[in-house]
């Protein structure tokens, strides 16, 4: 048997292994630079809008990711977002404090996450059906308790991060945003670190790949899944709070409009990594951002066609990428401790 002690050379091969990614990245940077040269104002506006549109999407994708990395499929992101959006909005209306409203939105998401964990871990319910329960429940509850005509004190406003905001293009896009958008960016990097460099991350991934291996070394699979799914719910709640406290500023019935499902496609496109999801979310955010831009520019396409773009993109991404990336091996399967 050959036993070489040579570690895999990941760093040197990285550019060659990901040459397509690198190439696409260069093309995108090039096109942005070109667009900026041609029309700086519009380019800046579109990119800033892209970042904001991508915020709920990347948060949703991170929710899906942290759940699936621990082995639980979450198709209830949509419902969790909707509940977060609704309760954050109601809190904003009645308490009039944006930060308290934000906390309540996150809490709402956490509770919905807990519900999913209860259904999929404790009750061992089919996870797709469990997620569907959450979606229907969220539509029902928000619809039932919603009263139209409520007004709020306002929404989160952008603030500049000192001199960084003065950098052309990059400044206005990345460093002049409202708080939840900043938070999302921070969370992307924090989650990346936690998932791949810490004990918690190692255990989470083990539980999602091979739960019985984790169990036999004394890791509590159920507990890991409960906590991860609940944190995931908090992220979805934050995404929802973004919509009502920062993005739109008000609540409408069914306002998430499928973003929770787009988030799943983004998660897959990003190969279950936070940084990948961030990149993928930009692409999707862009399809939203150009919708308004195209209308401003007077492009003569039926609005329904442009409105379908994110959904069709999702289908294409799934069709093109799902077979090529590898999901956590144990996702979707309830863990049975005593099989007999």
């Amino acid at each position: 048997m050959e036993l070489t002690a040579v570690p895999r050379k990941i760093s040197t091969n990285w550019f060659i292994k990901n040459r397509w990614l690198v190439l696409i990245f260069i093309i995108i940077i090039g096109s942005i630079a070109y667009a900026y040269a041609v029309n700086g104002r519009v380019t800046t506006a579109v990119l800033a809008s892209t970042l904001r549109q991508s915020t709920p999407l990347v948060l949703g994708a991170l929710c899906g990711l942290i759940c699936e990395r621990s082995g639980v499929i979450n198709i209830g992101i949509e419902g969790q977002m909707l509940m977060g959006a609704f309760l954050a909005f109601m809190a904003n209306v009645y308490l009039g404090n944006l930060w308290v409203a934000l906390a309540i939105g996150i809490l709402a998401g956490a509770l919905m996450g807990l519900l999913l964990a209860f259904m999929s871990v404790t009750l061992k319910m089919d996870q797709i059906i469990g997620g569907t329960v959450i979606n229907i429940l969220a539509i029902g509850l928000t619809g039932y308790f919603y009263i139209s005509g409520l007004t709020t004190q306002g929404k989160f406003q952008p603030f500049a991060l000192g001199p960084l905001a003065e950098i052309p293009l990059i400044g206005p896009v990345f460093f002049k945003n409202p708080p939840i958008t900043y938070m999302a960016i921070v969370i992307v990097f924090v989650l990346h670190y936690v998932l791949f460099y810490t004990r918690w991350g190692l255990r989470t991934r083990a539980v999602g790949e091979h739960p019985s291996a984790a169990d036999t070394v004394g890791i509590n699979v159920y507990k890991m899944r409960y906590i991860n799914v609940t944190i995931g719910g908090m992220l979805a709640g934050l995404a929802g709070a973004f919509l009502t406290l920062e993005g739109v500023g008000t609540f409408e019935r069914g306002m998430t409009n499928g973003r929770g499902f787009l988030a799943l496609a983004i998660m897959i496109f990003g190969k279950w990594t936070p940084l990948g999801a961030w990149g993928a979310a930009f692409l999707f955010g862009f399809t939203y951002a150009i919708q308004t831009q195209l209308q401003f520019m007077g492009v003569n396409l039926p609005p329904q066609f442009i409105g379908s773009l994110p959904y069709i993109l999702t289908i294409l991404v799934l069709a093109g990428f799902v077979g090529r990336s590898r999901p956590p091996a144990a996702e979707g399967k309830p863990y049975e401790k005593e099989g007999g």
Binding site: M1, L3, T4, A5, V6, P7, R8, V194, Y197, T198, R199, W200, L202, R203, R205, A206, E209, H210, S212, A213, A214, D215, T216, V217, G218, I219, N220, R326, A329, K337, E338, G340
Partner: protein
């Protein structure tokens, strides 16, 4: 009698003792008042056939299951084990038959999992982990690369990782569950050497197996389990294979299948330079050639994981062929769909009976028509004939001695042996030219094994060409007329049964080419 009592065993201090262990599962009493003693530095073999309760007992000792009754004492202390973590703390490490390793992670990550040493913020110092693994592998002579990814390693090395994992947790009581099931005879010998090295350093080992020869070679003491009960403790010096087999099964066992000389006829199956890929697109069948004639059993021997599964799936149309040719009689079936191959009177007993062979929630009767439901009388113009399906079910259940409450019972609720009988009944109750049987007796009771062996020989005597694929050398040697040894995706040598000695086949299975 007492002059060859093990030199270490009985004087050495007791490190583990189980008293009156009882465990009930729905419908089965898996362990019934089992007692067990393990001494320091001893290799204790636990022998029993499938379903005797060995694995359950070991799962209890390693904290995975909790017993319904009984006491466990470790190093003089009465303990209650609620989880594997409890057992690990007390120095009990288990190496499971199905490795408990995360395939996409590295050796070191798997070793430290659950017992990580972290810095501030939960940060894992992976370099330190690699260093610890290298240190352990040097100390115990278990060479391994800590940065290798598990799924890239051969099974023998994966087993080493499991042992290192236990040692990293400072285990001094090791439980090895059927560790040789996936190894060649030579690799097994290597493992036995490692086991002796470990016991020399004070580790005590419980070694679970159903292979009689190994027990006699390696064990200091043997405990035999049958039907959930410990039925005897014996020493290798005073035992023979036959005496152990009798103790294990509870009656005299004929270790040899009784069969006449083969009368081979014309060639039924011919395979030339077959090439097949696995799920990860790696070529695992690399230019395999063989032929099987009517009236003979050709056994493909080999350690599992040498491409047998992919080979059989390609042969039966379940997996695409990327190179070479397959002929069944005069028809080329290289790229045929499963239905076409089946309709050429090819019967297939699949390796994984629960995955491929049966639809668990279906009734026994519905499972018995799985490959013929579209034929008369089971259906007429695409409309099913429920009466004919039921009738067929009743007949086959009787003929093949399937023990089931009724033909409406779900296949999933039958025992392993009876599930396999349902598959055998379905496959052999129609005209057959070629029988492909992949691991047909894995994990079933001795009674069912004998029944299925006799069925296979009966098919051969009726003129069927039989291709048997098996990782059990004993099964190969007792059934085959010719033995084709498979290693690394191809047949290294085909021997007539007269020339196929255990040693020769064992060497070939390990990949050593002759001449």
């Amino acid at each position: 009698m007492s002059d060859r009592l093990s030199p270490i065993a009985d004087d050495a201090p007791i490190v583990l003792e189980a008293k009156g262990i009882t465990k009930q599962f729905p419908g089965v009493l898996a362990n019934d008042q089992v007692d067990l003693v393990l001494h320091r530095g001893e290799i204790l073999a636990m022998l029993g056939e499938n379903g005797a309760g060995k694995s359950t007992l070991m799962s209890i000792l390693s904290g995975l299951y909790t017993p319904d009754a009984g006491e466990i004492w470790i190093k003089g202390e009465h303990v209650t084990l609620h989880s594997p973590g409890d057992a690990i703390i007390r120095g009990v490490g288990m190496v499971y038959q199905h490795f408990q390793l995360v395939p996409v992670m590295t050796v070191a990550e798997n070793v430290i999992l659950g017992a990580e040493v972290v810095k501030a913020g939960g940060y894992i110092d992976i370099r330190e982990a690699n260093r610890r693994v290298r240190e352990l592998s040097k100390q115990y002579g278990l060479e391994i690369d800590p940065t290798a990814v598990i799924e890239d390693l051969p099974v023998g090395l994966q087993q080493r990782v499991e042992i290192i994992k236990a040692l990293y947790r400072q285990a001094d009581i090791l439980i090895l569950d059927e560790p040789t099931a996936v190894l060649t005879p030579q690799e097994s010998n290597e493992l036995f050497q490692i086991m002796h090295q470990l016991t020399a350093q004070g580790v005590s080992i419980i070694f679970i197996t159903h292979k009689l020869k190994e027990v006699l070679t390696v064990a200091d003491r043997i405990v035999v389990l049958r039907g959930g009960k410990a039925v005897g403790t014996v020493y290798p010096a005073e035992s023979t294979e036959a005496s152990l087999a009798e103790l294990m099964v509870g009656r005299k066992v004929i270790l040899q299948v009784d069969k006449k000389r083969a009368q081979p006829g014309k060639t039924v199956l011919k395979i030339e330079n077959l090439e097949v890929l696995d799920e990860r697109k790696h070529k695992v069948v690399k230019g395999l050639s063989l032929d099987v004639r009517e009236g003979e059993i050709l056994a493909v021997a080999g350690v599992q994981g040498n491409g047998q599964r992919e080979f059989v799936e390609a042969l039966t149309g379940l997996r695409p062929v990327v190179g070479g040719h397959i002929f069944i009689e005069d028809e080329e079936t290289t790229h045929s769909i499963p239905r076409k191959i089946s309709e050429l009177d090819v019967a297939h007993i699949p390796e994984d009976r629960e995955k491929h062979g049966l639809v668990m929630p279906y009734s026994v009767a519905d499972n018995l028509v799985l490959n013929r439901y579209f034929h008369e009388p089971f259906s007429h113009r695409a409309v099913l004939n429920r009466d004919a399906i039921a009738e067929n079910g009743r007949n086959l259940v009787k003929e093949f001695d399937v023990r089931t409450p009724s033909i409406e019972t779900h296949a999933g609720s039958l025992s392993g042996g009876n599930k396999q009988k349902v598959i055998v009944a379905r496959e052999l109750s129609r005209p057959v030219k070629l029988l492909v049987a992949n691991q047909p007796t894995r994990g079933i009771d001795v009674g069912s094994i004998e029944f299925i062996h006799n069925q296979i020989v009966a098919q051969r005597d009726a003129g069927v060409a039989v291709l048997l694929v098996s990782a059990e050398l004993d099964e190969v040697l007792s059934l085959a007329d010719r033995v084709a040894v498979m290693f690394d995706g191809h047949i290294v040598k085909t021997l007539p049964i007269e020339e196929a000695t255990r040693e020769r086949v064992g060497l070939l299975m390990a990949g050593s080419e002759e001449e």
